[in-house]
Symmetry: none
Amino acid sequence: MVGRPRSEVAREAILKAALDIVRERGFGQLTADGLAAAAGVGKQTIYRWWSSLAEVVLEATRMVARQIDVPETGSLEGDLAALLAASFRYNRGANSLRVVLGGLMAEAQLAPEFAPKFAAFIEERRSVLRGVMLRHVPADRRDDVEAAVDMMFGAMWYRVLVGHAPLDAEFARTLARLAAAPHCDPRR
Amino acid sequence: MVGRPRSEVAREAILKAALDIVRERGFGQLTADGLAAAAGVGKQTIYRWWSSLAEVVLEATRMVARQIDVPETGSLEGDLAALLAASFRYNRGANSLRVVLGGLMAEAQLAPEFAPKFAAFIEERRSVLRGVMLRHVPADRRDDVEAAVDMMFGAMWYRVLVGHAPLDAEFARTLARLAAAPHCDPRR
Amino acid sequence: MVGRPRSEVAREAILKAALDIVRERGFGQLTADGLAAAAGVGKQTIYRWWSSLAEVVLEATRMVARQIDVPETGSLEGDLAALLAASFRYNRGANSLRVVLGGLMAEAQLAPEFAPKFAAFIEERRSVLRGVMLRHVPADRRDDVEAAVDMMFGAMWYRVLVGHAPLDAEFARTLARLAAAPHCDPRR
Amino acid sequence: MVGRPRSEVAREAILKAALDIVRERGFGQLTADGLAAAAGVGKQTIYRWWSSLAEVVLEATRMVARQIDVPETGSLEGDLAALLAASFRYNRGANSLRVVLGGLMAEAQLAPEFAPKFAAFIEERRSVLRGVMLRHVPADRRDDVEAAVDMMFGAMWYRVLVGHAPLDAEFARTLARLAAAPHCDPRR
DNA sequence: CATTAAACGAGACGGTACGTCATGTCTTTGA
DNA sequence: TCAAAGACATGACGTACCGTCTCGTTTAATG
């Protein structure tokens, strides 16, 4: 027999409340009791479907991140700048994901069982950026593509995590230019 | 009157034990009780001189990081490669700082009062890399220096934190080449 | 329409499984989920017919207790000894009810709504013992009958609950002698 | 070295609050969180010194029970009646221990590790009643002393637990008379 | 040399959150 | 309508740490 089906209402309430709490009060203030209360849900319902709060937040974040669509400007530099700018946009302003991403990265450092799940999310994002580059870089010039991805997303995460400088459109353009130059310059 | 002076023995035992615990068992396993026991010290002695465990670890880390010396190879690319390779070396092998750095970054995300102290440490390291670049980049070509620093240290931290690829000498050379090229290319 | 009738199979499986679990693992280990699983039954089926697990166990226990039959030896002391010995027998050996009775008494202390139901069961047993006494004690000597019932069943429960001494045939005879003596002593 | 000494204030607050809660709301309503809050104490402070709530209540109860002093009326029946009446008095009226004793008995049934500790308390009380009897019963007539103790305290506990009849002075006298008669009647 | 006062080890303290367990109810499919 | 299955909201559990607070002891500089 089948039993009562999973409540979609509860699932969405949990994901939404988790994002809200982290954004408003910080990842460190997200507690299982608090999340359950905010979502109007029993604590067990959280642990039945996710094995830690970090995974709840990761799922919510992944749903947001997937809304970023792949640009098509015609040039490598243009595509990179567009994708980076779109990514940066989620880390600015009212509904910024900055503290959310910071919290996920923190959990990945502190909780060994969460690290591979977070790494899978990171790889998902990398594959988008890598795909954009591969569209423009000829097959015989791809040695530095991975390093370029690391530089761009590395720089983005560095600013997300340390907060020493803004993630604005200008920075997106600068990163795109620096990353695109060596790959497409035929004279090098 | 003056009272008993601070015990240097205790101070060093705490710093050493903190690094050891984090390296061996992970930052998440570092607890005040455990550190006090490992250092043969009362818990209050920790809190008397540091306001959180993260600051103990930061102080220990800073002492290690300062041992990295500034290279002098004659070329921008050579200096960058040398500095990056030296930095990477601390995140590999037996006494790797990887989990230590990851733990500090995590704490900076979760504990607001620790963030500025960690940011100061980050800026200390950035200033070394920036100094190397400024030695080679002419004053009228310095617009992208900050972005280049972000790309290099960003890429390093990204690999430290995510662990998707190694921090080896080849990666140091690649980053140095990509970062140096735009700044010194006379044709640009 | 009448709907599906109550399943007698389920009812008996529940009563049997409840007694088994309590006897084998203790009353404290009897849980609704565990009982449902052991009886091959849905949890709701338990709650539909009983309002607590204690009532399931009480019903099962009552069915066992009613198998004790009223003795007819000819003397008060003989009848008392026989009834007590028969009662004691259920609290010894392989299928002992000791933990079952202890558990019921415990629930009566902790769950106010169960207490009157348990008290009714107690009164049912008292009335059997009282009936035996009334058969032998003349109407003008009945002042202490209630107290005698309390002493005999009190002593029995005391040993059931505390376990400091055995409930054997000798104790049955001793109790019967002490309880019968004052009532039948013509010199008093 | 020594460390901070145990707080006597906390100890007494816990014992007092435990008794108060059980008396006012019932043993089943005594929770670790509630007790800690009522006593103004951390939960760990309870578990540091007692291994379960039942043991807290047992210690508090023992302190009360020890206030019952041993009577000295000159006759067996008088001493028994006095001791029983004094014991009964704690189970009546405003500060009645009835629900406390019921709760302890319940816990002894449900928690195997508590049972021996409760049995020791029971034996402590039995030894007082036994001592009273031994003062009056000659050495060659002591065969039934244990059974008499079981009958008296058994009857008391039976009424405490089931509540079918009052624990008043008259019941104390009746029990004393029934229990004393066989032991001291030289004609029997 | 005796006093003074801060630092020290030990460890108990009031708290907060954890992740688990059990309760009694609800919601599905199937008989 | 009843039944099995199993998800649900609730709430207590006992544990782990936190950062603070006594204790009695140790250690230098001051008087």
